[in-house]
């Protein structure tokens, strides 16, 4: 007779359940004689709906269940499996001060309600201006004839003599102010859905400019993001500090990849890969190419977990990402690093160089990891390669102003 647990993490996510690709859990058999029954890296759902549970087959006995959340929080519970029974176990995640904080709390970019409420009383800070740049200048789109334009444009916006603040129309034809969908004294939330219906091979590009009296940040917008044939919203949370500095973070409300991105953002690469591989989600991303930005996240995961010299079936996925989506710099960067991880640089120098130069021409990578790998890749080409050095100097100037702890590229101006 079968037995086990029905597992989930209970957390309200503004009406969105993550029924399949949720969070990582370990289930330890507590009887030493049954330790072989332990199950590690089980993917369990997150949500509140009555049917949002995952059935995990286990032999009767006592177990400790441990869920490792993308935020780094750990929720554990001890429970008994009885013969022939399927016990429901709902691990209770911490709640947030506002419902609209819930996705960002899952990723670790905003604290739970108890910690939030324990904060010393602070003066409310008014909302900052957030401009969505709907049609960026050709340089920022990366499709200008002058391939170094984006890098020169951004590098020139820093340093002495640059007039601040920079008006949004300096970056595009139509800077449009975007109002927060929710805010409180410390945070403001913006939601973006682009309603793009064109081919994914020709996706346009968007940026957001956040302006405060102290700073301006130019953020790559991870849109359009498609999941199950529809565009899902990308949410930007701006967290305001009393010294007028800000922190920004993105969440994609994607039931398949939302938590994958959260683990990726926090450097929990193995957990991210485990979830992305669950239900063949990763393979589907590359097979269907409905969501190139999601496929790029998958590419970073595969490469970051790759052992040197490893041969695998997925390598051609990276080549395809580079070939089919010429608006996406990240595919080229990943191809270069695939070669760098497969063997010595001298075995593939020409291919690596070409791919990195192509990435440079396509513009600012969507992912911060891409910016880091572009700097590192150009560095590896060496000081004797004058063309590489020329590009490296520009990319490095931009990377100095990037917030490297953000998942998506974000440049302080």
């Amino acid at each position: 007779m079968s037995s086990g647990f029905q597992l989930r993490v209970s957390k309200y996510l503004v009406g969105v359940d993550v029924p399949a690709n949720g969070v990582i859990a370990n289930i330890y058999a507590l009887d030493p004689a049954l330790s072989a029954n332990s199950k590690r890296s089980v993917v369990i759902p997150v949500g509140y709906s009555s049917n949002t549970f995952r059935q995990v087959d286990l032999e009767p006995g006592q177990y400790l269940i441990e869920a490792i959340m993308p935020s780094g929080d750990i929720i554990s519970q001890q429970a008994i499996v009885k013969d022939g029974q399927w016990q429901e176990i709902a691990l209770e995640a911490e709640q947030t001060a506002h419902e609209w904080h819930s996705w960002h709390n899952l990723t670790g970019s905003v604290r739970s309600s108890s910690a939030f409420e324990d904060e010393p009383q602070i003066k409310g800070i008014k909302n900052y201006k957030v401009d969505l740049i709907r049609d960026p200048r050709p340089e920022l789109r990366g499709d200008d004839q002058r391939s170094d334009a984006v890098w020169k444009l951004l590098a020139a916006l820093q340093g002495p003599g640059v007039k601040k603040p920079i008006p949004p129309h300096d970056f595009g034809l139509a800077g449009t102010a975007d109002h927060p969908v929710a805010s409180d004294k410390r945070t403001q939330l913006h939601s973006f859905r682009m309603n793009y219906h064109g081919p994914t091979e020709e996706s346009p590009r968007w940026y957001v400019l956040v302006s405060t009296p102290k700073t301006q940040q130019l953020l790559t917008v991870p849109c359009p993001w498609f999941s199950e044939h529809r565009e899902v919203p990308a949410e930007l949370l701006v967290t305001k500090d009393e010294d007028l500095s800000i922190t920004t973070s993105w969440v994609i409300q994607d039931p398949d990849l939302g938590t994958v991105l959260a683990y990726l953002a926090n450097g929990s690469l193995q957990s991210a890969l485990r979830i992305a591989s669950h239900n063949s989600a990763l393979q589907l991303l590359f097979d269907k190419f409905e969501n190139p930005l999601g496929a790029a996240a998958g590419g970073y995961l595969l490469l970051a977990n790759m052992k040197a010299g490893e041969k695998d079936d997925w390598h051609h996925w990276i080549s395809n990402l580079r070939r089919y989506f010429q608006w996406l710099p990240d595919g080229c960067i990943q191809f270069a690093w695939l070669k760098l991880k497969q063997g010595p640089l001298e075995d593939s120098r020409a291919e690596v160089r070409l791919a990195l130069f192509e990435a440079f021409d396509r513009g600012l990578p969507y992912y911060t990891l891409g910016l880091q790998w572009l700097v590192d890749g150009l560095t590896l080409l060496g000081e004797d390669d004058q063309e590489a050095v020329k590009r490296l100097k520009l990319v490095q100037r931009v990377s100095w102003r990037a917030d490297m702890s953000n998942l998506f590229t974000n440049v302080n101006l």
Partner: protein, 245 residues
Amino acid sequence: MSLGSDMSLLMSEYGDNDLAPLEQALDFRKFRLAMSRNAPNQQLYFIDACRSSSDRLIDSLQYAGRLPVQNGPQASAETPIYFATLAGEEAFGKKNEVSFFTNAILMGLNGMGSDDPAGEWLVTTTRLKEAIDYEVKRAFGGAKPKQVPPTDTLTTFEIHRLRNDPEVPVIVTCAPASENARAEFICERNGVEQSRRPPANETWSITLSAGSYDFRAQFSGGIVRQPKSNSINIRPIYRKVIIDI
């Protein structure tokens, strides 16, 4: 000193030469990159330092310090890196104690970052990261939502085998927590008392070897409360014991 993707590790002699201060610094980004093209093929980096932003790296025209190693002929090595803090921020500790980060590493290696998939307690890179993430966050008391930065590569490999059972941090609390002020906590193993804490207006933090324990909260008037499970199993990464009142 940190600026975007670049980082300069300042040596103790840093600043001795006013004309060339970065001569007493290590260009860490290039160092790690060059090391990754050399043996061994598994390397591990722990950076327990503040990561102040400084325009000195811009002023120095991309010179971020010395580079004592050159690119070798290897394919990329696995080079997980653990930082004490985010770029541009300070790392913290208590006066006359090791930093929060070093403490988290030591706790991780001492068992908090271990698992026993085949019966033997092993610390792996991935499990160590989970332990450090948890412990640094706990040490900061949740003062910031995010304290430990992501790493750009984190392949999983074994870094330590424990000779003894792992030491695991445990937090014991009443629910509601306000009852902690009236509760005396007692921890026993196989009927032998291991530790006891008199009433105090906070949770009880102890470190225990992995295994099964019994906990109870005693109140004046002989009232005793226990957790829902009779015997609580303690194993890494940490365990919270809740006693409902």
